[in-house]
């Protein structure tokens, strides 16, 4: 009886401790392993338009950012470094931003993106389940979302998770 109480108590402690360690702000995305929602948006500072279909056959990253987003600024140098490696195309989704602010932001801090697309009223963000900028999606050759990072991408995350996943996806089916 005593032992049962002690075991029960510790089980409860472990359960609650595990609950405390989880970050409640990270909501698992239902979009993982689902096709990336289609859209067609104008590019930032250009008349051209972009659709995820244009990336068919490539593994690529879609990074949601905004000039008003404070955490994006912390994340930015990491993306600039990553872009230098030219590992995969990095496309920005400029979320609910002003065009001038966005362009100024990029010229000030550097532009890691192949290009950014403009989601001025946040509709495409909603389709992608964006709820906290920055967010980053890893999309495979078939246009399927394989991974979503909520919050800033870090060097550790790139090295430990995203780049290995890119390698696996590039090696996987449909490699050229």
């Amino acid at each position: 009886m005593r032992i049962a109480i002690v075991v029960g108590f510790f089980a409860l402690v472990i359960l609650l401790a595990a609950g405390l360690k989880r970050d409640p702000r990270v909501v698992p995305s239902p979009l993982i392993d689902k096709p990336a929602p289609a859209f067609e948006l104008p590019r930032l500072g250009s008349a051209e338009r972009f659709s995820p279909k244009d990336m068919q056959g490539k593994v690529w990253l879609l990074n949601v950012w905004a000039s008003w987003c404070v955490t994006c600024r912390d994340e930015h140098p990491v993306l600039v470094d990553f872009a230098r490696t030219k590992r995969v195309p990095l496309v920005g989704l400029n979320y609910k931003d002003q065009k001038d602010d966005a362009l100024k932001w990029l010229s000030r801090f550097g532009d890691p993106y192949q290009f950014s697309v403009v989601d001025a009223d946040g509709r495409i963000g909603i389709d992608y389940g964006v709820y906290g900028v920055p967010e980053t999606y890893l999309i495979d050759r078939a246009g399927v979302i394989r991974y979503k990072q909520i919050g800033p991408v870090t060097h550790e995350l790139l090295k430990g998770k995203i780049v290995p996943m890119i390698e696996a996806l590039e090696k996987g089916s449909g490699s050229k």
Partner: protein, 156 residues
């Protein structure tokens, strides 16, 4: 800080002009009633302990706009809820559906309650079943002696 200043400036301007805050698309009371009913059951992703209807977060406003548009487009409540779940997962629902991943959530409290009752039952039964420890002859003699002479304070 800039945002607050901007907000104050906007309020001041609105006050001067006697203007009412524009409520986009929110002119039909029937649509608003349905929006309220649906959005009360949805969680705001930004401030997670608030419902979508209560939240003034930017995203919540956008999502309400989406719900409003879909109501106007004639979608059913279930369709609108599905739209949210497809994008944000079951987490947006304050009443999560019963399925294998949410079974602990639905059944856990009852399981704990039953476990509690079982523990009490076992505890009480054991106590009843436990035999009173019999006294040895020596102990019994000592007890009799103590009872016979209460003023006696024996020192060992």
């Amino acid at each position: 800080m800039i945002r607050i200043a901007a907000l104050l400036a906007m309020l001041a301007v609105a006050g001067v002009l006697g203007a009412k805050e524009a409520v986009p698309l929110g002119d039909d009371p029937k649509v608003e009633a349905r929006l309220t009913a649906i959005a009360e059951e949805l969680r705001c992703l930004v401030c997670q302990n608030e419902s979508l209807i209560a939240s003034r977060a930017d995203l919540a406003m956008d999502l309400k706009r989406q719900v409003r548009e879909q109501i106007k487009a004639g979608r059913s409540d279930a369709e609108i809820r599905d739209y949210m779940v497809q994008r944000y997962g079951d987490f947006v629902l304050y009443r999560p559906p019963v399925k294998s991943s949410t079974l602990p959530l639905w059944l856990g409290p009852f399981a704990l309650l039953i476990a509690g009752f079982c523990a009490i039952w076992i505890f009480v039964r054991r106590r009843r079943a436990a035999p009173q420890p019999a006294l040895t002859g020596e102990q019994e003699a000592r007890a009799d002696e103590l009872l016979a002479n209460r003023a006696d304070h024996p020192s060992r």
